[in-house]
Each structure stands twice: as structure tokens, then as C-alpha cells.
């Protein structure tokens, strides 16, 4: 269970990106975070693994206060939280294998990892994860030689190397075409079988309604909707996206 309590984030003492956000996510749920551009979706996701330090409030995960964790403990928490990104965030010049293995850094002996040595088990696991996303034959290709969809699959493999209990996905399909988008979303959907919580920010409501168990909508950093995606009717839609917004798809 992940509890977000009164979370707030103020950038540079001026921009209020999250305003008293509270909700709970049971283990294994597929939660979509929706909202206009600038509503605070990315900020929320990055507060959960503290890539961004929240200004106030708490994040409690299975009784542990993530917001109060000291550096060493924070690393232990982070390694159980996978994350994938809109722009994939692979190291472009490194081979796919190295990118995937880097998902294991939180577990490995720091010394060996510094000289690029990983335990045999980790290497085997990396190959398994690549197989899972259908890229086993690309293991030794440089990341920048892959297409966008392939890069995102490598991103997923990297996150899965962490054996995560939570997967954060920040607009994972926003830079992909619709067909690829569905294939990526299906990989995420399958994580439910392993009881992994997925928290995914999405732009398209049809994707939300198709894949998510639940949706949380943000507007100007506040939660304006929290419920099943099917409950987002035209009136709710207007509340979330504003009067002028036109529903597409």
C-alpha cells in the first residue's frame, strides 16, 4: 500500500506544482494520472521516488516514510521502484545490455559495478528481461541505433531489472505512434500479474479507460477526480480539462 498524504511541491518558492495531494494506492493497482500539461503529473511521479524533493506532506510505503528516508535507505527504497520515461532516458552511446544492467545498480556491489562487472545471475536476468520485451537479439546494439518503440522496451527491461514493487511511468507512450503505444501499454498491463503497482501518467483518455483500474486527475496541482476511469463523463471531463476542451477519441 502506497499512501500519499497532503503532498505539496513548490518550485523556486513560487510555482505551486502540487497542492495538498492525498490518495492511497493498494498494491497491484494500475493507476492512471491524468491532467492538462503543467498540472503536476510529472512532479507527482518524481516525488514518489524523490527524484524531486517534496516541499511538504508524506509518502508512506508499507509503513515506511519515504519522505524521511536518509540517503542510504532512500537508495534501498528506490531500487524497488522502477521508472520509465516519455523520452526513454537511455544512455545513448552505451549498448542495450549495459542500459538494462544499470537497472541492477542498486543491488550490486558498488566496487564491481564501477568497472562494469555484474554477477552472472544479473547478466542472465538481463537477457531474460530483453527476451520478455522481444529484444534479445539487440542486446549488444548501441541504444541510439534503436527505434523509439524499441528504446521504450529497453526502458521497461531496465526497470524490471529492479524487481520493482511499484512501476512509475511518466507518459510512457507520448512520443510513440498509437500502435506502438498499445504494445507498450500491454507490457505495463502484464505487470499486474506479478502484483506490481503501476502509476502511469497518460494524455489520452481512451488509453486510460482501456488499461487503468483507476484514475486520478490533477488540475493546477490539486486532485480534481479520483475514481474508476469509466466515471469520467463529459461533465467530469470539463472539470479536468477546462470548459473549452473538446473530447477527442
Amino acid at each position: 500500500m502506497l499512501e500519499i498524504k497532503n503532498l505539496s511541491k513548490i518550485y523556486d518558492n513560487t510555482v505551486l506544482a502540487l497542492d495538498d495531494v492525498s490518495f492511497e494506492v493498494p498494491q497491484g493497482q494500475f493507476l492512471a494520472v491524468v491532467g492538462l500539461s503543467g498540472s503536476g503529473k510529472s512532479t507527482l511521479l518524481r516525488c514518489i521516488n524523490r527524484l524531486i524533493e517534496p516541499t511538504g506532506g508524506q509518502i508512506i510505503w508499507d509503513g515506511v516514510d519515504v519522505t524521511a528516508a536518509l540517503p542510504e535507505d532512500l537508495r534501498r527504497i528506490r531500487r524497488r521502484i522502477g521508472m520509465i520515461f516519455q523520452h526513454f532516458n537511455l544512455v545513448q552511446r552505451s549498448p542495450v545490455m549495459t542500459n538494462v544492467l544499470s537497472g541492477r545498480l542498486g543491488y550490486t556491489n558498488p566496487f564491481w559495478s564501477l568497472i562494469n562487472r555484474f554477477p552472472k545471475d544479473d547478466v542472465a536476468m538481463a537477457l531474460r528481461q530483453l527476451e520478455r520485451v522481444g529484444l534479445e537479439e539487440k542486446a549488444y546494439t548501441r541504444a541510439d541505433e534503436l527505434s523509439g518503440g524499441q528504446q521504450q522496451r529497453v526502458g521497461i527491461a531496465r526497470a524490471l531489472m529492479q524487481e520493482p514493487a511499484i512501476m512509475l511511468a511518466d507518459e510512457p507512450v507520448a512520443s510513440l505512434d498509437p500502435v506502438l503505444a498499445h504494445s507498450i501499454m500491454q507490457y505495463l498491463e502484464k505487470l499486474k500479474e506479478e502484483n506490481i503497482t503501476v502509476i502511469c501518467s497518460l494524455h489520452f483518455l481512451d488509453l486510460v479507460q482501456r488499461y487503468a483500474d483507476r484514475a486520478v486527475a490533477l488540475k493546477d496541482g490539486k486532485v480534481v477526480f479520483d475514481g474508476h476511469p469509466s466515471e469520467i463523463d463529459d461533465k467530469r471531463f470539463e472539470e479536468i480539462y477546462g470548459e473549452e476542451a473538446q473530447r477527442i477519441g
Binding site: I77, R78, R79, M83, N89, G103, G106, L114
Partner: protein, 614 residues
């Protein structure tokens, strides 16, 4: 606006233009005077002759030499003539000969010298050798000031006036000499010298670049805005670091220095102090106590264990390295005097050993500096977390006072060393008090939890230092280094190395600033620590451009090392400046050709490699 106003404004504008033109003329007129431009000088005959000499010298580089075969023909002549008749020398088949119009002449008489059987168009020099019994000490006087050139048949005829002095009743000798080039040309002395110095130059650039890289890499991180902007700490934490780092650095220096001395004493060098024994025994004792104690589970115990084990390892490593370096010093000094590769390796061992012995205390300083800073950080973090607001405030004030005292003291000590105000013990008091009061005041006025951008602090300091040093040309720096370590390539290495550090540091840091943050975010999110993040997310992004810039810099360094000799930095430049000063333009020309070849080929090479990498 009426007509009158219009015309007056246009007059004003014209006047303004004229004033501007006059001003420009004055500026240039003054400039020409200051720079002493003088178009008469280049036209003076004497100076034009000098220029011609230089250009002819440069156009005829002294590259090759031939083996010289000296061809000689002689004829006797008796002066004054006392009635005797000397026979003409018998011609030898296949050898050139000379004949004289008379073999018995009066002093000052003009005779005709004819040559037969010489090479065509050959330069022949005529000498007059007065009679001497001691053939080894004969004196050859020029019979003619100029050379004689043979005709198309290899013959010549020339009139020569005999001398009035050096008379004798024995026959003197007229000698004709031609210097013939034979066989294949070999490298000239100048070329050999140039070769030797150009090698020195290329290595000078290599060593300077290598030195530069080592320090430029860490500096480039400190001078990269995107890395440093995240480095923040609370006011109290910052004060804690400030207060302890001078102490930590000093302690680290002392400990490592005494350990190094102790290590040296193992192999019969240096002197061990009692404190060194203490430093080395302490962690071992701690280890023993820990091993003996029963409690094995607590977290504190585990941390303590780790710390003590690291300390033991550090002590052992330092001792061993120092002992080894001491041996290396001895061996190196012995081997250095040998010739060939053995000597080179001996010298290498000696330098390496010296570097270890000198570097250890510096390393100790750095380790102590950072270790204590991070320790102080953790402790204050804990205090901030647990202690009450009032306690944190007091801690902040006390730490600020200590920090102010120490840093103002350190700065005063440095200034006192430079300006020699007086006895440091008295000079230091006032600034230390002022510093303590000043920072106490700041501490009282500010919130102890306030975030201080320590990273940007360091960033600006490092940037400023780099900019200052970057603006000093190596050719100027080398003058200072030549005073310190003597004229020669070592001074050149130091000057170029220093400039390389700052120049590369700047270029590198710009690369760091250009890296994509996405991968950093992603790798951090996996739970990697900071060092792992740097290795996996930063390094792959910066290593290729680092290599490219290093090559570029090595290229510049080769170019600079060719002139660094003008400032006393060794290499080909030194030879060139000497040759120019001695008016040996043909030799200087060889130096210049070598410089051009090396610079051009390295330019090409580094461009090719850089192309490959990026």
C-alpha cells in the same frame, strides 16, 4: 520643422562627420607613431642586405652534408730567385696538375698559374705555403682572395701576385685545392640536432597534456554548473564543513606524512616519528578490540567495523607504498646513470617513487578534507533532525565562529607569507577575531536550516581560478617556471601542463554541462549511488568528447611547445632561438621546417582521430 532648421541640422550632421573623420585620423596617426612604423628603414641598403642574408639562409636549409674529397696539386717556387732553376713537377696521369709561368720569382712579382686536368667548372682555391721543415705545422696563406673556376675542359689560368715577405733560400709551395663532394649526402649536424630536439618537443607536449588531463577531469566536474547546482546544504551543515575541513586536511596531511616516513624507515630511509607508530597502531588496536567484543549485531557496530577495516587497509597500503617508493628511489638513482634503456627506466622509477613520496601527504590532505567534511555533514544532519531548534541555533553559531576564525586565519597566513606583514603569531590575531565575530553575526542573523548553494560557491571559485590562469600565456608562465626549476624542457612541461589543466578543464566542463539529464535521472531512479550514476550515466556521455578535446589540446600543446623554448622551456624552440641569436639562419631554417612538418602532421592526425570518435 522649417527650412532653416532643416538646413542647420544637416550642417550639424556634416560637422559631426568631419569631426569623426578627424578623430579617426588622429587615432591612427598616434598609433603609427607609438608603434614606430618607419617606411625609410626597410629601404636602407644595409638593412636590405641583412634581410637578403636571412632569406638566403632560410632558403638554403642546412639539411645534408657530403663527404668531402680533397684534391690537391702543388708546384714549387723559389723566392727570391737566386739563379737556380727549379723543374716543373711531373704530371701524374689522371691527377690534376698546376704549372707556373716561372718557378723562380722575385718578391712581389706577378706570375701566371695554370691548371690542367681538373673537373669542369670546379672551384679551386690557391694557397701559398712558405717553406718550413716541419710539415705538420705549415702555414697556408691565400694566394688569391677569391676562388678560381675551371673552364669547360677543366683548365684554368690565373695571374697572382707573390708576397713580399716570407722569403727563404728553400722553395716555397703553390698549392691548388678543390673540395669535391663524394658519395651520398648524409644528415647535417643541424639536422641531427633538430631531430633530437623535435623528439624532445613532441614528448614535452605529450607529458604536459597527460599531466593536464589528470587534474582537468576533477576540475571539470567542479566547474560544471549542472552538477554543482544540486549540491546544497543547510547553513549549519555548511558551517560545520567550513569549520572542520582545514583541521581534517591538516590532520590527513600530518598522518599520511608520518606514515610515509615510517614506511620509508622500513627500507632504511627517512626517520620514523613516534606519532607515526601511533597512527598505524591505533586502527589495528581498534580492530583487535572490536574483534574481541561480543556484540556483533548492531548497526553502529557494523559501521564502526567498516571504518576501522578501511583505516587498517589505508595504513597498510600507505606504509607499503612508502617502503616500496623508498626502495624505488635507491634503485632508480643507481640505474639512472646507466646508458640506454636501463637508464631511462631507472629515471622513470626514480620519478615515480618521488611522486609517490611527495604525493602521499597531499593525498592525505585531500582524504582528510573530504572525509571530515562528510562526517561533519552526517553529524549535523543528525543534530538538525533530533535536537531542538535552540540547540541547532547554538551549534550553528559556535561552528560559524570557529569557521570564521580558521578561514580568516588561513587567508591571513597566506597573505602574510606573500607580503611579510610581520610575525604571524601576532598578525593573525586580529583577522581571526574579526572572522569569528563576522560569521557569528551572520549565524545569528540567519536561519540555521536555510539552504546554502555550496555547489555554486565552489563552481564560481573554480571558474574564477581557471579563467585567471587561462588568460596567462604558457610562454609567460614558463619564465617563472624556468626560474624555479631551471631552463629546460621540465619548465616547459610545467607551464604547458598548468595551462592544459585550466584550458581542458574549461572545455571538459562545457561537455559536462551539455549532457542529457534524462539518463542521469533514470540511473538515479534505479537506486544507484552518486558514483555509480556518474560511471553509468555521465561517463558514456562525456568520454568521447573528452578524448576529442584531449587530442585537440595535444595538438595545441605541440604547437606551443615549439615556441615555449623562447621563454626557456626547452624543446626545438630553444634551439631555434639560439640559432637566430647566433645568426645561423641556415640552421634556423632546418628548425623551422621541422616545426612545420610536426605541427602539420599532428594537426592532420588529430583531426582524423577526432572525426572517427564523434
Amino acid at each position: 520643422m522649417n527650412e532653416k532648421e532643416k538646413s542647420s541640422s544637416s550642417i550639424l550632421r556634416t560637422l559631426g562627420k568631419i569631426a569623426l573623420i578627424v578623430a579617426i585620423v588622429i587615432v591612427y596617426a598616434y598609433g603609427l607613431q607609438v608603434t614606430k612604423v618607419d617606411l625609410e628603414k626597410p629601404q636602407e641598403g644595409k638593412r636590405q642586405q641583412q634581410l637578403t642574408n636571412i632569406l638566403r639562409g632560410l632558403a638554403n636549409p642546412d639539411l645534408f652534408e657530403w663527404k668531402i674529397d680533397r684534391v690537391v696539386a702543388e708546384a714549387p717556387v723559389l723566392i727570391p730567385c737566386d739563379g737556380q732553376t727549379l723543374a716543373a713537377p711531373a704530371p701524374v696521369e689522371g691527377q690534376p696538375t698546376i704549372t707556373l709561368s716561372t718557378y723562380c720569382a722575385e718578391p712581389g712579382e706577378t706570375i701566371t698559374v695554370s691548371g690542367f686536368g681538373w673537373a669542369r667548372n670546379e672551384d679551386v682555391f690557391l694557397f701559398f705555403i712558405p717553406y718550413t721543415a716541419d710539415k705538420d705545422n705549415e702555414v697556408a696563406l691565400k694566394l688569391l682572395d677569391d676562388r678560381v673556376v675551371t673552364d669547360n675542359q677543366g683548365n684554368f689560368t690565373v695571374e697572382a701576385e707573390l708576397k713580399n715577405d716570407r722569403l727563404s733560400d728553400k722553395p716555397a709551395t703553390i698549392r691548388a685545392v678543390a673540395n669535391r663532394k663524394t658519395g651520398m649526402p648524409g644528415p647535417s649536424e643541424a639536422l641531427k640536432q633538430t631531430w633530437e630536439k623535435i623528439i624532445e618537443t613532441v614528448f614535452l607536449a605529450l607529458i604536459a597534456t597527460t599531466f593536464g588531463i589528470f587534474l582537468a577531469v576533477p576540475f571539470s566536474f567542479l566547474a560544471a554548473r549542472n552538477l554543482m547546482i544540486d549540491v546544497n546544504s543547510t547553513f549549519v551543515k555548511f558551517m560545520a564543513s567550513l569549520a572542520v575541513v582545514p583541521i581534517g586536511g591538516y590532520l590527513g596531511y600530518i598522518i599520511f606524512k608520518s606514515l610515509t616516513d615510517l614506511g620509508r624507515s622500513f627500507t632504511g630511509g627517512g626517520e620514523a616519528s613516534a606519532s607515526a607508530l601511533l597512527w598505524s597502531v591505533l586502527p589495528v588496536l581498534g580492530f583487535a578490540v572490536l574483534k574481541g567484543s561480543a556484540d556483533g549485531g548492531s548497526k553502529l557496530f557494523a559501521t564502526l567495523r567498516r571504518v576501522i577495516i578501511s583505516a587498517v587497509i589505508t595504513v597498510v597500503v600507505v606504509l607499503a607504498l612508502a617502503a616500496l617508493a623508498n626502495v624505488g628511489r635507491g634503485t632508480g638513482t643507481d640505474l639512472k646513470i646507466e646508458t640506454g634503456l636501463t637508464g631511462v627506466i631507472g629515471n622513470f622509477i626514480l620519478i615515480l617513487s618521488d611522486a609517490i613520496l611527495l604525493g602521499m601527504p597531499v593525498l592525505g590532505f585531500v582524504i582528510g578534507f573530504f572525509l571530515i567534511s562528510s562526517m561533519a555533514g552526517s553529524v549535523t544532519e543528525m543534530v538538525e533532525d533530533r535536537a531542538s531548534e535552540g540547540v541547532v541555533r547554538i551549534v550553528a553559531i559556535v561552528l560559524a565562529a570557529i569557521a570564521g576564525m580558521l578561514w580568516f586565519g588561513v587567508i591571513t597566513a597566506v597573505l602574510n607569507w606573500l607580503y611579510q606583514f610581520g610575525d604571524l603569531r601576532y598578525v593573525i590575531i586580529a583577522p581571526a577575531v574579526i572572522g569569528a565575530v563576522l560569521l557569528t553575526g551572520i549565524a545569528i542573523a540567519s536561519n540555521p536550516h536555510r539552504i546554502i548553494p555550496t555547489g555554486m560557491f565552489i563552481y564560481y571559485i573554480v571558474r574564477t581560478i581557471m579563467n585567471i590562469f587561462r588568460s596567462i600565456e604558457p610562454l609567460v608562465m614558463v619564465v617563472a617556471f624556468a626560474v624555479w626549476v631551471g631552463i629546460g624542457p621540465f619548465a616547459g612541461v610545467m607551464a604547458l601542463g598548468l595551462h592544459t589543466i585550466v584550458a581542458l578543464g574549461k572545455l571538459y566542463s562545457e561537455q559536462v554541462e551539455n549532457i542529457a539529464v534524462g539518463p542521469i535521472e533514470a540511473v538515479t531512479a534505479t537506486g544507484a549511488n552518486r558514483l555509480q550514476m556518474i560511471i553509468y550515466a555521465v561517463m558514456p556521455q562525456i568520454v568521447p568528447p573528452y578524448i576529442a578535446f584531449t587530442l585537440y589540446r595535444w595538438d595545441i600543446n605541440v604547437r606551443m611547445s615549439t615556441i615555449i623554448g623562447f621563454g626557456g622551456g626547452g624543446g626545438i624552440g630553444f634551439l631555434l632561438s639560439q640559432n637566430i641569436n647566433l645568426l645561423k639562419y641556415r640552421q634556423a631554417s632546418v628548425n623551422m621546417i621541422a616545426i612545420a612538418i610536426v605541427v602539420a602532421s599532428l594537426d592532420y592526425l588529430s583531426a582524423k582521430v577526432r572525426e572517427k570518435i564523434t
